[in-house]
């Protein structure tokens, strides 16, 4: 690794992790697109500074910073004092500022005889390779400063992120805190612009949105966002320098000889996006796969329990005998297809709650026990609705049908305590009588749903 590459690597890693931490607050505050506003609004500031002060680095940073702060201030004022909503205010300020930048840029181009025609392009795409040691020190100082700020204001920012109304009611200066966060965001964006370009906004949003999939705790989210951002910065830089391809021995992007031309900013963003997509799919609780699996599990449990309850209800007159129930009887009670019912029975057999006998099925001992518990929960809930919520007996089945699968033993015990003991009839296992007629017309639309 060459020395310049190392510098760029350190710089982008630090930039990525700092942006990840600060972006977390922006995402939680629903201000994710403020980064977009900042990265566009800095252009007129840069151009003005160039026109007034000439090619001075600190002048241009100051100009960009000032333009960004003015843009944020204007947006906040417009939202506060007019009926224009936040999204429109943001868009108007963004486009007007950027357009002013384009206008100023055309002035500069005429002055310099088209010499800086590449100006807009490098502004938009950034040039990480141009990073020098001084820039890295600046980024490092900024990272440290924002880390200190987040640590010092942690409690306040946490409250602001999750419940701004409460924070205001508690007397925190929410406006000032908001402006502190936005101001720091502005500084980070401006410092990141030369390296990553307009895609700086992605570094603010994507790591934060990724981290949000994995945790419900702000502290952990900040750490994860910093890690994702830093990792994206590092991997993107290595990819763009062609080093990663050398190390792993093949070129994942199939770029061949042109590796050296790859723009760093977009690669960093794509790395972050890859982590985002993986989290979107596979995060333990909020990920799509996990949520789909949880949904499927619940549906399977519901279907299984519906079979048990239906069998119980059909066997009820003969209890404690366990009579044989035919498939036809089952189908008459439920809106099930024949294949689906067969499959449910097969499944019940595997779990040991149903057995085949004489041309039909019946509950096993274990199955009867499970079904009894279930029907008990169902009917207790129905009784509770009738007594407690004053709902007509023929209207309670549907609700109980949905909730029976979710009632825990503790809740059932509490329901029992709430109801008079006389209501809990002396049936096997203490199952109260059904408060309504049991008929297929009383079954709920939930039965028609089955796993896709």
């Amino acid at each position: 690794m060459t020395y310049p590459t190392l510098i760029v690597l350190v710089g982008t890693t630090l930039l990525g992790s700092t942006a990840g931490v600060l972006g977390s607050f922006a995402v939680l505050r629903r201000r994710a697109l403020v980064g977009d506003l900042l990265s566009h609004a800095a252009l007129p500031g840069l151009c003005l500074a160039f026109l007034v002060l000439g090619r001075s680095f600190s002048g241009m940073v100051a100009g960009a910073l000032l333009a960004g702060l003015v843009a944020i201030g204007l947006m906040t004022l417009v939202c506060r004092f007019t009926r224009t909503k936040e999204d429109a205010a943001l868009g108007i300020v963004l486009s007007t500022f950027f357009a002013a930048g384009v206008v100023l840029l055309s002035v500069i181009q005429k002055q310099t005889g088209g010499g800086s025609r590449a100006g807009l392009e490098s502004y938009i795409f950034g040039q990480a390779a141009g990073m020098n040691l001084r820039d890295v020190w600046m980024i490092a100082g900024l990272s440290l400063a924002s880390l200190v700020m987040v640590l010092l204001l942690y409690k306040e920012l946490k409250l602001l992120s999750f419940d701004p109304g409460f924070a205001r009611a508690q007397g925190w200066p929410t406006f000032l805190l908001d402006m502190t966060i936005m101001g720091t965001l502005c500084v980070v964006t401006v410092v990141g612009l030369p390296a990553v370009g307009i895609l700086m906004v992605a570094l603010l949003i994507i790591p934060a949105a990724t981290a949000r999939f994995w945790t419900e705790r702000l502290s952990l989210m900040l750490v994860l966002a910093a890690m994702v951002g830093g990792m994206a910065g590092a991997v993107g830089t290595l990819l763009s320098a062609g080093l990663l391809q050398e190390w792993i021995g093949f070129d994942p992007l199939a770029f061949g000889d042109r590796t050296k031309n790859l723009p760093t900013g977009p690669l960093i963003v794509l790395c972050a996006t890859a982590v985002f997509l993986a989290s979107l799919l596979f995060a333990p609780r909020r990920g799509i796969v996990a949520r789909a699996a949880a949904g499927l599990r619940l549906r399977a449990k519901t279907a299984r329990e519906h079979l048990l309850r239906t069998l119980f209800e059909l066997s009820e007159p003969h209890l404690p005998e366990r009579p044989v129930v035919t498939l036809e009887q089952l189908l008459a009670q439920r809106a099930w297809s024949r294949a689906w019912a067969r499959w449910l029975v097969w499944w019940g057999q595997r779990r040991g709650s149903v057995e085949r006998a004489g041309g039909g099925v019946r509950l096993t001992e274990a199955g009867l026990g499970r079904a009894t518990k279930l029907v008990r929960a169902h009917r207790l809930w129905e009784l509770f609705l009738i007594r407690g919520a004053n709902i007509a007996p023929d209207h309670v089945h549907r609700d109980a049908d949905a909730i029976e699968h979710l009632l825990t033993p503790e809740l059932v015990a509490e329901l029992e305590a709430q109801l008079e003991p006389a209501a809990v009839a002396e049936l096997p296992g203490g199952v109260p009588e059904s408060p309504h007629e049991i008929s297929p017309h009383n079954t709920s639309p939930h039965d028609e749903e089955r796993p896709a």
């Binding site: 004092f81 007019t82 009926r83 999204d87 357009a99 384009v102 206008v103 100023l104 949000r212 031309n261």
Partner: protein, 432 residues
């Protein structure tokens, strides 16, 4: 007609085409923008204009052509994909809406840039032109229609504008309802989702058709600013669209001339002009403007102080003492400051109060007004004591505030509600 036009000075012809294309593009954007602003989806235009980049590259790689139709289809597909992804990430993935927009468009933009470098680095895709447009040179690229050279941009933006107008007219009430109350629209059997995507497709088409010529920054500005400006000026959707279209055309005209005068980028200048229109509306809009609200509040405050002064002079007369207030005393009594001075000057000018030497005296006109005010004040005090059970020493403050808003009709209703409409809780007469 055509001969007359072609005989014109070439510069005038160019100006005509720039303004015409600009006005048509701006109008097409502004009409859709009204819906975007109302549905709080303003940033979608910005997201789309970044996200179409990979669509352009993929279309080029697949067909090897940079033709207008290939580009159009590629960009349109990318635009629709963006809208779908943003919606799906928000609904299905549980990501906040703004963050999902940010993730999708930046990722697609980055992908587009990398794809360009990978497959199309030979192609000169001028980023400058993508953002700031080539509106200045719009008449250099022409097609021949009916033996007449028109700019190619006209062929792409003309039909899109017509389509937008057509769809808006056809689905006027559905779009109206689903923009203001999508829940109600769904309950009434309109497919709110369908109109959401219809709008998305129109926005994507308009964005794509516009930005080859005018640049994406003007498209983003025109999708938001005219609609938001019109929203500050009216509460009716029809009127809002009319105003937005008018602003779109006006900013094309003014933007062009300003750009020529200052010798700067035309599309950028048009966007700046429409931003200034918005600023003007923020300050000056009759009902929702900041300055107008300020003036309204000031007028209200002066009226309150004026009426307080009248009430005070009336009560002094009522006591039957000889003492009258001087100008300084009166101003002192209502809190001094410029408001008090303005109020007193107003009373003297209206002839409600006259000067007797250096003392102030109510005129007949002033006395009549003051009677109404004091009546309102005391009726309200009586009402508060009788119906809200407030102690008599707590009712003066609220009555001080309410007296200014209790007109003759309300006074009659309050009088009917209280048992004794002749005397107030402090034992003073209620005048009539």
């Amino acid at each position: 007609m055509i001969e007359w036009f072609t005989s014109l000075d070439p510069n005038t012809q160019t100006a005509f085409w720039i303004i015409l294309i600009g006005a048509m593009t701006n109008t097409a954007c502004a009409l859709l923008g009204c819906y975007l602003v109302l549905r709080r989806m303003s940033m979608l235009g910005d997201a789309l204009s970044h996200a179409v980049l990979p669509g352009l590259v993929v279309a080029f790689v697949l067909t090897g052509s940079l033709g207008i139709y290939t580009m159009f289809i590629g960009a349109l597909a990318a635009g629709i994909l963006t809208a779908v992804l943003v919606h799906w990430l928000h609904r299905g993935g549980g990501v906040p809406e703004d963050a999902s927009m940010g993730v999708v468009f930046t990722a697609l933009f980055a992908l587009g840039v990398v794809l360009i470098k990978r497959y199309a680095s030979a192609v000169d895709l001028d980023i400058d032109c993508v953002f700031s447009g080539v509106l200045d040179m719009v008449d250099l690229n022409t097609v021949r229609i009916g033996g007449f050279d028109v700019p190619r941009a006209l062929v792409s933006i003309g039909p899109v504008l017509a389509l937008n107008v057509l769809v808006i007219l056809l689905f006027w009430k559905e779009l109206l309802l689903s923009s203001f109350d999508s829940g109600l629209a769904t309950a009434m059997g309109f497919k709110a989702g369908f109109f959401h995507y219809l709008l998305m497709v129109l926005v994507a088409m308009t964005t794509v058709a516009s930005f080859e010529q005018v640049g994406s920054i003007l498209v983003v500005a025109m999708l938001i600013a005219p609609g938001a400006t019109a929203h500050l000026l009216t509460d009716k959707l029809g009127r809002m669209m009319g105003i937005a279209a008018g602003l779109a055309v006006a900013s094309a005209v003014l933007g062009h001339f300003a750009a020529v005068y200052l010798n700067v980028n035309t599309a950028g200048m048009m966007a700046v002009v429409v931003g200034l229109f918005y600023l003007a509306a923020v300050l000056l809009a009759p009902r929702y403007g900041v300055l107008s609200a300020l003036v309204r509040n000031l007028q209200m405050s002066v009226r309150v102080v004026r009426e307080d002064l009248l009430g005070m002079l009336y009560r002094l007369e009522e006591l039957g003492v000889e003492r009258r207030l001087g100008r300084g005393e009166a101003i002192e009594a209502v809190g001094r400051g410029p408001l008090a001075r303005l109020a007193l000057r107003g009373l003297l000018r209206r002839g409600d109060v006259k000067r007797e030497g250096h003392l102030l005296e109510l005129t007949d006109r002033g006395r009549e007004q003051a009677t109404g005010l004091v009546r309102a004040h005391r009726l309200w005090e009586a009402y508060l004591v009788e119906h809200l059970g407030l102690p008599p020493d707590h009712v003066h403050e609220p009555a001080m505030r309410t007296e200014h808003y209790l007109g003759a009709a309300l006074q009659e209703r309050v009088a009917a509600e209280v048992a004794d409409a002749e005397t107030d809780p402090h034992g003073r007469e209620i005048p009539s």
